[in-house]
Each structure stands twice: as structure tokens, then as C-alpha cells.
């Protein structure tokens, strides 16, 4: 039994339906929850890799560093940076929301919906400001 997981195919017993899918209508709470997971995975795969790539490129000296940074200013490179920017701000603000919940606070539905709007607008504004500053428009 140790190697078996309780997959629905193996055991025909009811499982609770996914919050995202045909059974529930979309809600702020469920959408932000799955977005926290998606941003966490995206940051883990691309964000930490890029951070280490940057530090490693720097450690190889000026010439190697400049060569290693070239692709980042291409269109796909900039799109990746912009996506990471949104992901980190979103995961950061929503992570704060999670940590506040972990203390037992702000768990009423109206409070959760209000903090959801705060997280969404906060990460949008912070991302746009950051991109504007780095892009030299501000």
C-alpha cells in the first residue's frame, strides 16, 4: 500500500470538486488562491533561475556579464522580466495576506474580498511603477 496513492481512478469514491472548474462559479477567493500557486511556481522555475543566472554572470567578470545580459533586452527577455515583475509583486502582497490569515485575522468574507482588491490593485500599481522606472519613463 505504501506505493499507492488514493487516486480516484483506483478507488471509486467521491472526492471534493475542484474550486476552479465546472462546479463552482469563479470567486475572488478561489481565483487569487490559484494565482498564488501559479505565481509561486512561475517564480520558483524562472525567478530563482534568473537570479542565480544574474549572480553567476556577474561573477564571471565584466565581458562575460555583458554578453550574458544581451538576450534579456530582447522582446522575449523583456516579456519574461515584466511577467516576473507582476508575479513577484502579486505573490508578495498575497503572501502577506496569507500570513495575516495565519494569525487568525481578516478571515471574514467581506474582509477577504476587500484584501483581495487591495492585493490586486497593489500589485498592479507596483508593477506598472517598477516597469516605468526601469524603462526610464519616470
Amino acid at each position: 500500500m505504501a506505493t499507492e496513492k488514493n487516486t480516484p481512478e483506483r478507488h471509486q469514491r467521491p472526492i471534493s470538486p475542484f474550486m476552479i472548474g465546472p462546479y463552482y462559479k469563479p470567486q475572488l477567493s478561489s481565483i487569487l488562491s490559484i494565482a498564488h500557486r501559479a505565481s509561486g511556481v512561475f517564480l520558483s522555475v524562472f525567478g530563482s533561475a534568473l537570479l542565480i543566472y544574474w549572480l553567476f554572470a556577474l561573477s564571471q567578470g565584466a565581458a562575460a556579464y555583458q554578453a550574458a545580459m544581451l538576450w534579456l533586452v530582447s522582446i522575449p527577455g523583456m516579456l519574461l522580466l515584466a511577467a516576473l515583475c507582476f508575479a513577484i509583486y502579486y505573490h508578495f502582497f498575497n503572501g502577506l495576506r496569507h500570513l495575516i490569515w495565519d494569525t487568525g485575522r481578516m478571515m471574514k468574507i467581506e474582509q477577504a474580498n476587500r484584501s483581495a482588491i487591495f492585493v490586486l490593485s497593489g500589485s498592479f500599481i507596483a508593477s506598472v511603477l517598477t516597469i516605468a522606472i526601469v524603462g526610464g519613463w519616470l
Binding site: G40, F56, H98
Partner: protein, 125 residues
């Protein structure tokens, strides 16, 4: 009737045998990441577009190389703990899950070694 042995209750490890340590690890690294990520955003916004020598000067200050190493280690640990749960939730084939969990740990470890070494080399250039 209580079906659970009192010893299991005293140990407090639950059915997965790891107790609350994973949960705590995810929260403690999240708390540490709050100041470290703010610092990282500051560094990226202010320094990423600068010439190499400016960035090198910045990282040659001890406090900045210490913060960079703390950031790399805390972020990779937080990411590994987080990816672990995602894989547990969605990958239901036992051999594949084990392989993925090991790969995530391997990448986190290799990333930590690479990142720490890079910061040290950069600081001492």
C-alpha cells in the same frame, strides 16, 4: 471511542510523519523573504541596468553580499517547500512524484551552491 494511540498524539507527527515542520518552514521563509525581497527589488531597480563596475562595487560591500546569500538560500528553500506541496497535490504516480521531488531538491541545492559561490567570487573580484 478514541482510535488513536496516545503516543501518536504525544509525538504530534500526524499521518505524514513530519508534523508541522513543513508548514512552519514555509511561513518562516516567507517572513524572512519580506525584507529580503524588498531589498532585491531595490537592487534590481537601481542596479540591474548599471555598468558592471558599479554592480561589482555594490556587491563588494560585505553587508550586500551577506544579504544576497541570505536571499538566495531563503528563496530556494521557500521555493523547494512550495514546489513540494504542488507536486504532492497534482502528481499521483508514485515513481514520477519521487523523481520530481528529488529533482526539485537537487535543483535547489545546486542553485544554492552556485549562487553562494557566485556572490563570493563577485565580492572578491
Amino acid at each position: 471511542m478514541k482510535m488513536r494511540h496516545p503516543l501518536a498524539h504525544a509525538r504530534g507527527l500526524g499521518s505524514a510523519k513530519s508534523g508541522t515542520s513543513h508548514w512552519w518552514g514555509q511561513r518562516v521563509t516567507a517572513l524572512l523573504l519580506i525584507p529580503l525581497v524588498i531589498w532585491m527589488l531595490y537592487v534590481v531597480i537601481v542596479y540591474a541596468g548599471q555598468p558592471f563596475q558599479v554592480i561589482q562595487d555594490f556587491f563588494s560591500q560585505t553587508i550586500n553580499s551577506i544579504l544576497a546569500i541570505l536571499l538566495v538560500l531563503t528563496m530556494l528553500r521557500h521555493a523547494q517547500l512550495g514546489m513540494q506541496v504542488v507536486i504532492e497535490d497534482y502528481v499521483h504516480s508514485q515513481p514520477l512524484e519521487t523523481i520530481l521531488q528529488l529533482l526539485v531538491k537537487l535543483f535547489a541545492f545546486a542553485g544554492a551552491v552556485t549562487g553562494v559561490l557566485a556572490v563570493i567570487r563577485l565580492a572578491l573580484q
